[in-house]
Symmetry: C2
Subunit: 457 residues, 2 copies
């Protein structure tokens, strides 16, 4: 067999033991909070039928979907003329019936429709699985990455929105973040703003311009709005909305005044206010909740609340987001099922925790005790201790063969093993084993029983 | 958008919440034992370069590998004549550079070679990830399924083999199995058997025939050996080996006598004996360890120990297996690295636990308390209790909107929620809430504080 210099595909990653411990810490923390709020885990297959995925993410999205070649003689069924035309797009559907999951939302919608008769609604589910996108890889953007989603379908109660705010607060607080903002907006407010200037059709132009306020200021936004076809009068009318300031309550009050002529806009204000009231009853531990009417992510998709989370401790894009969508399952023929969901950006959270040094040191320790091994006699002596420690649920290793002490201590250090036990001739004779704390370097002479009771949790 | 009747690809599965809880229970149990023995988790990408996978699983294996279509204009680079010949195989390598992981072993070998300078050997890793095979789906055989592997590379110590026996014993015992057999053999013993009849080249014919002893008896095996080109004298010589009986020690003794002329055969006996000695020092809690010289799985691959695990409580094929391979990483240019590993068959273990009713009932409970919701007043009253329970790490839900009691209790029953709290007008006035044990049906009147202290863990 020829020797191949091995590599992984562009944009994909191996995760080493130290990385896995940290990733598990993030996922386990978020999952435990999802469960605490009554969300249940599901998993869907890596491959979906192409018909399930294609057409759901726009034309650009379709191009980013990884397609799986049909098995066997996949060319047999293709029209040779079509093939001769070398039209990759047209041929793809003939030679590929399956594709890799692009996100967790469409497979979830497919799941809900397929299993609608087994599901008790409201259905609160979470899902933590990788997704694949044939994007151009760059720093922080991968072709394989995990998504970490929670959604509830079949309930229009705004308690769900409030609980997602609480979930963000609790999960990110648990991970050690001390200063982060949960931004909230409502699609109905954006619709209202467009309505009061009679430009309902230009809502995207409007939100794109407003979104730049931070960067280009009011003059810049005004200029951009005019360029995009809005009138001076339009700008004058929505200026109070763009310049919204003060507390959340003050912002809401100003919005109500500005949107007085738009029923839908006022409904958006009511919804936001209801969420705020819930949060008053269940105060946030760490997060700041902020009404931000420039927030418009996934505009074509969301119909009510829109969320985004930013850390204020590190320069990083959003570390989470979500919102309400009123017709998630309509694409699969189940109409009128409303849903709301959020997502955690696990890779970015990883980078933030790393930058802020927030990973617990214990997160890097898997084995607790290494028993060193010099010869057969010591090894035989060590075996009962090894199994006693394990019986107490202490992760313990016996170095698998006699080796120099330096090599074994290097092994312990490289694996971040905090304690080692040395069993030499003296130790076997006296029954007092050398127990070393690897971080302090302190050595003690302890009996096997003492070591077990010291380590037992 | 047209409505599509949704389905999942043949041989793939959705996992519902109840299934996920059970699957997590299995995986978490096995992982905790891997960690206890010093194994560290890694993950590798779903897609590998085709060059990494192809040619590693034989011609039949190559056909079962799912290939991923190149992105963009994938036909542009293909020779039109080649395409016109409609040779699916020949074209595949031009239009597909990546493929889905077929097992965890080859990606692990690739990982070790790529990361050899960061790894401290001996390297004990575990990996729990799905793999994909374009097999014909049938009962118990899927196109996407999880593998659950532990391997150590860079150590030829037989302590590793013994520890894998202990890992099987502990993990399967923890899962509640009460009667299972860990079969052990050694490739060197099989080689020895072939050597003593001077038929080293016919080792596969030999093992295939011997393997049928249980089903066809000695006469059948004899007949089959003759058909496969062995002589009457050969059969006479190896009969004591085929009919091996008694305790492991007695079998080993008979083997040593039969293999007295084969150095390699005797070495195999020594290796098995060393493993047995380790296990004498670290007695098994549940499993039976049995020397079985008919065991030959993965013959072309293994060079030392061979393992297989069978439950004796349910009719099921092997629920685990593994062995030692002396040249895992040679295919990627890193020679001379020995390894030994085992695998748990998670899907089969799932079926066995289900059949024997061994899943803990708690494994089906995610939410612990449902607070029912009838009106806004009760909802407002409930919010502090909701968050107090959650602060005590009690998974708790407030039904998201007012609804009929029957609907809410059905919701609790369907989610296997063990306790419900009802807050009506009387309850609010008296401060005594109705706390119901859903399995016994017993209702009590308790204060919010009493409910919290009752549920807090």
């Amino acid at each position: 067999m020829a020797s191949i210099k091995p590599s992984v595909p562009k944009g994909t990653r191996d995760f080493s033991p130290a990385e896995m411990v940290k990733r598990n810490y993030i996922f386990d923390t978020i999952k435990s909070v999802f469960r605490k709020y009554g969300y249940q885990q599901i998993e869907t297959p890596t491959m979906e039928n192409s018909s399930t995925l294609l057409g759901k993410y726009g034309e650009e999205g379709d191009k980013l979907i990884f397609k799986v070649l049909n098995s066997g003689d996949y060319l047999a069924k293709v029209n040779p003329e079509k093939l001769a035309a070398l039209n990759s797009n047209a041929v793809a559907s003939d030679i590929s019936e399956k594709a890799l999951r692009y996100d967790l939302t469409v497979p979830f919608a497919r799941y809900v429709v397929m299993h609608q008769n087994e599901i008790t609604f409201p259905f609160k589910r979470f899902q933590v699985q990788p997704v694949w996108r044939a994007d151009r890889p760059q720093r922080g953007r991968y072709r394989e990455f995990y998504q970490c989603d929670a959604d509830v379908v079949g309930s229009d109660s705004l308690l769900n929105e409030a609980e997602f705010v609480l979930i963000y607060d609790e999960a990110l607080g648990k991970l050690g973040l001390k200063d982060f903002t949960i931004k909230i907006n409502n699609r109905k407010i954006l619709t209202g703003i467009a309505q009061i200037i009679d430009k309902a059709d230009n809502i995207i132009d409007l939100t794109v311009a407003i979104d730049k306020l931070d960067k280009i200021g009011l003059d810049g936004v005004t200029k951009e709005l005019i360029e995009r076809g809005f009138t001076e009068a339009d700008v004058e009318k929505i200026k109070p909305v763009i310049l919204l300031q003060g507390t959340n309550a003050e912002k809401l009050q100003s919005l109500r005044e500005a949107l007085a002529q738009s029923d839908i806009g006022l409904k958006g204000c009511d919804e936001i206010e209801t969420v705020f009231k819930y949060i008053e009853s269940c105060p946030l531990q760490t997060a700041t909740l902020e009404l931000d009417i420039t927030l418009a992510r996934g505009l074509n998709y969301y119909t009510g609340a829109i969320f985004e989370v930013k850390t204020n401790e590190a320069a990083m894009g959003s570390i989470g987001g979500g919102g309400r969508y009123d017709d998630l399952t309509g694409m699969f023929g189940l109409k009128g099922l409303t849903g709301v969901g959020i997502s955690f950006g696990a890779d970015r959270i990883y980078d933030v925790l790393e930058e802020l040094n927030l990973f617990p040191t214990a997160a890097n320790q898997s084995t607790q005790v290494l028993i060193c091994n010099f010869d057969k006699e010591g090894e035989t002596y060590a075996l009962p201790l090894l199994q006693q420690l394990r019986r107490q649920n202490v992760n313990t290793e016996l170095y698998p063969a006699g080796a120099k002490i330096k090599k074994q201590l290097d092994y312990a250090n490289n694996k971040n093993i905090p304690y080692t036990v040395v069993i030499g001739g003296d130790e076997m004779q006296s029954g007092l084993l050398t127990f070393k704390d690897m971080s302090s370097g302190v050595q003690e002479k302890l009996t096997a029983e003492e070591i077990v009771s010291r380590m037992a949790r």
